[in-house]
Symmetry: C2
Subunit: 332 residues, 2 copies
Amino acid sequence: MPELRKDPVLGRWIIISKERRKRPTDFLIEQSATSGGFCPLCPGNENTTPPEVLAYDANGHPRRDGAPWQVRVVPNKYPALIIEGNLDKEGEGLYDRMNGIGAHEVIIESPVHEQSFSALPPEKMLLVLKAFKERINDLGRDPRFKYAMIFKNHGKAAGASLEHSHSQLIALPILPRMIVSELAGALSYFRYKERCIFCDIIRQEIKQDVRVVCQNEHFITLTPFAPRTPFEMWVLPKYHSSAYCKEEDSNLFSLAQLLSETLRRLDSCIADVPYNFVLHNEPLQSNGLEHYHWHFEIVPKLTSIAGFEWGSGFYINPMPPEEAAAYLRQSL
Amino acid sequence: MPELRKDPVLGRWIIISKERRKRPTDFLIEQSATSGGFCPLCPGNENTTPPEVLAYDANGHPRRDGAPWQVRVVPNKYPALIIEGNLDKEGEGLYDRMNGIGAHEVIIESPVHEQSFSALPPEKMLLVLKAFKERINDLGRDPRFKYAMIFKNHGKAAGASLEHSHSQLIALPILPRMIVSELAGALSYFRYKERCIFCDIIRQEIKQDVRVVCQNEHFITLTPFAPRTPFEMWVLPKYHSSAYCKEEDSNLFSLAQLLSETLRRLDSCIADVPYNFVLHNEPLQSNGLEHYHWHFEIVPKLTSIAGFEWGSGFYINPMPPEEAAAYLRQSL
């Protein structure tokens, strides 16, 4: 049973998720290349994954048994958290722990093995974005879960263990610390200004026009003012919204168009760059927050993070975001 | 001029430290191996570094001109922050920035190129620990600086750009966010309990005796309860102290003995493992804090950090700290 533990000083939760008995030296073994020809995510291999929880056909409808799928969501075969069981929250002296209960799912973004996410046409990317929404809403009905995190690791250096394009969702019984910090920072600003900080950021960025990468009617991609790493980007709705999972399909289509353009610009700047993206969404069972604003964070995997940064949470970034934005604007 | 910028949501400062004009694709070029035979840190090459700010002979005394040194501290030739200048703090709309003023020094830990830090005999490691103290105290007299961070990257995978054993010191005009969080968490506990949280942790760990790696009369090495990564360790004084920079030499010798044993145990578990360590110390110009407790954090570089963890500040650790402690205890 995996275990959630809280650092008592920082208030930060982590998962202890024991793998099959591992010796210390095993940790040094580099992740090997994807095993030969077999891909568990490809069509024809559906029986090698746990049973699917969602699948859309090419028209975005739930697929009939055995019919071809365009997007497919399955539980992760090696989940970090276990879906069955009780939390059994308890203290251990001054420490806090609970069982590692949660959901861990894989969103398979295309039936085509070599298809890259960024090259998906918007109507197909839309189905992925809809799948995110549908799974978050479904898991949000489980009162044990407080947060659903959608993330993607693209490329081996970014932590992708399989080549076939996919994202993941982890539903947690706690709020990850960075989300807690974002919510607290946003709330603090809202109390002072009575405005959403992200809305103010968007207004300022549009006005200054130095960190805007691209935009359309409803969405905007920025390089943030104080980025941790080169080419880091945020993708946000221009209108105020805290709940990704309540977005209309028409907005999600507009998002798909901009997300696609954003990732293609990045790829055009640095071919096939490994990257991670994460969806920052309001906590589950929230009811629309005035002070918070959902957004994607896209983080290319370029420079290594060294001890200084790890130890202090303080980053040294060799590329000003204004320059990164200029490169990205000129790249297509 | 490097620049400090603050993320307005998280309140997190970062440095923008532009390197010589760099194209986007340059970021992908892997750090190359240390250049051939030349090492700027070795004796005989003193004229290739900026002038030293401190150097001890083998007896720990300031070295006479040209005399052999055991430990030597020089400004970093490629500093992330610049020591001359004013902060010029200003706002840019809702953003905060200032000039990247600070100190960035390299502590050369031995004259012997192949000498590893962990294999230094305690009386030689003591001189390194004294050098840390002396430099922190000296930089602490500069009213522009708020924090001095000592850190070490050991091994290429951990970010070490040179083989010759060295640590670094960065003095900052702001508090790094993780230190702010630690101080806040510790203060919050202190207000509630009227005791230092680290002292309580040490008491509990000694009593439970499952996460203790090693200890001596004055210092203890633990695997923390909620570690981000396998074999992560803390080294702390058993007695309450918030100021590393006020420690007596006799205590530092005791620390050298335990730090040496700790790193040798780690190395014995996983030979030549890359690691980072960071000293978490009270802010400069503090006057001894009841609620805070200085400590080293040692973080072996094993598994990669992937998008999920980057995006959420939430880690999945496959090794329980109790097991790591057991391996480390049995390793020597």
